[in-house]
């Protein structure tokens, strides 16, 4: 039986752990938001309307710097993935 590569084991374990963490965290957050906004209470309706207004009135310009940096790092990641395929 071939000996497993420790770096590959580390990389796979890290990937699985982080993916599970993000899935659980995101699902919990979405569930809490849905539970908060669910219902026919007039206050809930007002809250939903106000949040809709917040979404509509959202502007990207104040966050353009952060979004550009994220796009840059995503590009770097894609290039590294492509280089992985080349090797």
């Amino acid at each position: 039986m071939p000996r497993p590569d420790p770096f590959l084991v580390y990389r796979t374990t890290l990937f699985i752990a982080l993916t599970a963490y993000y899935v659980v965290t995101t699902a919990g957050g979405v569930w809490r938001v849905v539970a908060l906004l669910h219902g026919n209470d007039p206050r809930k309706r007002l809250l939903r309307t106000y949040l809709s207004y917040q979404l509509v009135s959202f502007r990207i310009r104040p966050l353009a710097g952060e979004l550009l940096q994220i796009a840059f790092w995503c590009t770097i990641l894609l290039v590294i993935y492509w280089l992985h395929g080349k090797l």
């Binding site: 206050r43 917040q54 959202f58 952060e66 940096q69 790092w73």
Partner: protein, 173 residues
């Protein structure tokens, strides 16, 4: 006279009855209330003057029945007429006074309500601005966390790439 209380901003307790849906506007309800108060004042004055006139008719000064030969009859009728005219003038003066006072009270109440509404509107605008700032701050924070995660992912990917390259060199020198 006690100082006016500040408006309540607690959402659990309505700040004014006009804020609750399904009711007529505050101005129309106030004018309706003032109209009813004015009508009650008119009724009270009318009833009081009517009783005064009835007591005058039943009093010994009341005019005698027609056909009786009473020398004091023209004087009594004249007195009743004068009294009636005075009563009418009194009624008109009282109505005018009550109406003027009610208008004054209504104007003061309207002014106070407008002041309170302006303060509530200013507070709502202030809260909205604070919420917008909090939303932008929270989004910026989340995006920063996402960026840090991406940087570390790229670092691990570069490490993996280097490892793969070195291992290939090691296997095939």
């Amino acid at each position: 006279m006690s100082p006016p209380e500040p408006p309540s901003l607690d959402p659990a307790t309505p700040s004014s009855p006009a804020d609750t849906p399904g009711r007529p506007p505050r101005a129309s309800r106030l004018s309706g209330m003032f109209d009813s108060v004015r009508q009650v004042g008119r009724d009270v004055v009318s009833v009081a003057l009517g009783r005064l006139l009835e007591s005058q008719e039943k009093s010994p000064l009341a005019p005698p029945e027609a056909g009786e030969s009473n020398p004091a009859a023209p004087d009594a009728a004249k007195r009743v007429g004068v009294l009636h005219a005075v009563a009418q003038q009194l009624r008109g003066a009282a109505d005018t006074y009550v109406a003027a006072k009610l208008d004054e009270i209504e104007a003061r109440v309207d002014e106070k309500l407008e002041t309170i509404e302006a303060r509530i509107d200013r507070k709502i605008v202030e809260l909205h601005q604070q919420l917008v700032e909090m939303r932008d701050r929270e989004l910026r924070h989340r995006l920063r966390l996402l960026k840090v995660t991406l940087i570390f992912t790229a670092l691990v990917a570069v490490l993996s790439l280097v490892y793969k390259w070195v291992s290939q060199l090691w296997q095939f020198p």
